[in-house]
Amino acid sequence: MNEETFKQVESVFRKVFKRPDLLIRPEDTAADIAGWDSLTHMTLINELEIFFKITFTFEEVTSFKNTGDLVKLVTQKIS
């Protein structure tokens, strides 16, 4: 996993959930990160799209299982 991309994704998480000290791990899911739920999920997705200048498909945003998968997906899209 690209370390730099991971840190950038983490910075987006911090911005969306308004927690400057938030630390994410590759195995984290929505259950592990306070505030990350279905209500905020698409806001997070949109912020990632803006930050990385990518576009996700619906299938992609509903199929990743944890933040590790999400970072891999972002890495694929930007490369």
Binding site: A34, M42, F58
Partner: protein, 470 residues
């Protein structure tokens, strides 16, 4: 046949026994036959409807993969959705039809199965959408498809199961001993929750909701809270029985509840309550809408919340009360969306308790609409809740007697017994769930639970004493 009936117990023992000894594909056909018998036991018209909708959806799905035949796809969705709306309309109008379906039986048993059909058609909607989006290939074997659709443990009350959750399992070998123990424990817990907790609370709730008494606000609110608890134990009890029965047959159904009474926000509540239905609404309505308008960020989620709950209200029933119930939750969720705190700091025990109590009150308030027998009854209850008589002059007569369904010592004793079991279950819910999910069969605990069901469970015809002269 209802789960809590001797007929079902005999039926299930037979099916379970045969299922244990048979091998696939005979085992599959046994489950299919048993499912059709289960549905047909209520009435044959419902069985006919189930077979019809299964056949219809099966044929449609074979033709709509990818971008092919958009018209056929939408037609298939429309028919399944109309079926849900139509049956709910029939329920709302007490069986008065706008057109005749020829000899459709509107007896109590038929109405019960019409509720089952709401779940059933929803599963077909999910199936068609998933086939269309190429998430799953269309089923080629109609009997397999019919089994997955009509599978009897989940038919009446869910859990709402997606095609892809069951498909891999129907060809599994027969269940192991481990499944029998786990499944049985789970079923016993389900019967306990339903008969000892939910059904004992039902008369207390009915005593407040079903009469036009001038009761103080605190009585109305107490009954609303009791209704929420009753609904939880009733529904989760049914789910436990369904999941347990299915486990004994070797098939895993998804969990439906995750201790929702401990939720500290309405958002969290909806992650823990009726999870299978919420998963459906999230996957097929909420996420598509919020994804499409994601550039509007929170507003996209707000639009999706409104639409999802509107559809949920229609699914539950057609009427003012369900719309008002949905409106309450829209307001709660939108408030949390725009004002909520995502600090992530772990709150203290007292704060957790206060939060959970507040959420219970908010959800219970919305359930006043959900439970009310009519708009007029609902308005009456709300007027009692919001006038100056919130607290009573005489607590024994205006609060205790309605909740205890009488003012005699025996009534108070029954109320105390009910609250005792309720408190114990809520306090030790996680431990009890662990026991019920354990693979090891525990004879002593099981024996005690069944004994409690006999001594404190509600068996008789609950309508027997509805009319009381005084």
């Amino acid at each position: 046949m209802a789960f809590c009936s001797p007929q079902f117990l005999i039926f299930f023992i037979l099916v379970c026994g045969l299922n244990f000894v048979l091998k696939n594909p005979v085992r599959k056909y046994l489950l299919l036959f048993a499912s059709l018998v289960f549905i047909g036991w209520f009435n044959l018209y419902t069985l006919g409807a189930v077979v019809f909708f299964s056949g219809f959806t099966f044929i449609i799905a074979a033709r709509v993969t990818g971008d092919k035949n958009a018209f056929i796809f939408y037609f298939g969705l429309l028919v399944n959705c109309l079926a849900i709306v139509l049956f709910n309309y029939l329920l709302a109008s007490d069986g008065l039809v706008i057109f005749s379906l020829n000899a459709v039986d509107f007896s109590v048993n038929a109405l019960l199965l019409l509720v089952g059909l709401s779940f059933y058609n929803l599963q077909h909607v999910a199936y068609l959408v998933d086939v269309r989006r190429k998430r799953i290939p269309p089923e080629k074997n109609f009997l397999d498809f019919l089994l997955i659709s009509a599978y009897f443990p989940k038919f009446i009350s869910g859990p709402l199961t997606l095609y892809q959750q069951l498909r891999p399992q129907i060809n599994w070998p027969a269940p192991q001993q481990i499944n029998l123990g786990q499944g049985f424990n789970r079923m016993v817990l389900g019967f306990f929750k339903k008969m000892v907790l939910a059904d004992r609370l039902a008369p207390s709730v009915a005593s407040v909701f079903d009469y036009n008494d001038e009761l103080p606000g605190i009585t109305v609110m107490s009954a609303a809270i009791l209704f929420t608890i009753q609904l939880y134990f009733d529904f989760s009890g049914y789910s436990d029985i369904a999941i347990g029965a299915s486990k004994m047959l070797g098939i895993d159904l998804p969990e439906n509840f995750d201790f929702p009474l401990r939720a500290r926000s309405v958002t969290e509540f909806w992650r823990k309550w009726h999870r299978s239905l919420i998963h459906f609404f999230t996957t097929y309505i909420f996420y598509p809408v919020s994804f499409r308008y994601r550039r509007y960020k929170k507003h996209a989620a707000a639009i999706a919340v409104i639409l999802t709950f509107f559809v949920s209200a229609l699914w539950h029933g057609i009427g003012f009360t369900f719309m008002m119930w949905a409106l309450c939750h829209m307001v709660y969720l939108l408030f949390e969306l725009y004002v909520g705190n995502t600090s992530g700091a772990s709150p203290g025990r007292l704060k957790r308790l206060v939060s959970a109590a507040l959420i219970l009150i908010l959800v219970s308030f919305s359930n006043i609409f959900f439970r009310s027998t009519s708009s007029a009854a609902c308005m009456h209850l709300l007027s009692r809740l919001f006038n100056f008589d919130f607290f009573p002059e005489n607590w024994a007569v205006e609060v205790l007697a309605p909740i205890a369904v009488g003012g005699h010592q025996a009534d108070l004793f029954n109320l105390v017994a009910t609250f005792f079991f309720l408190c114990l279950t809520v306090l030790f819910e996680r431990k009890i769930f662990e026991y019920a999910s354990t693979s090891r069969f525990r004879p002593v605990i099981t024996f005690l639970f069944i004994l409690l069901i006999f001594v404190f469970g509600v068996f008789g015809n609950s309508q027997r004493f509805i009319y009381m002269q005084f």
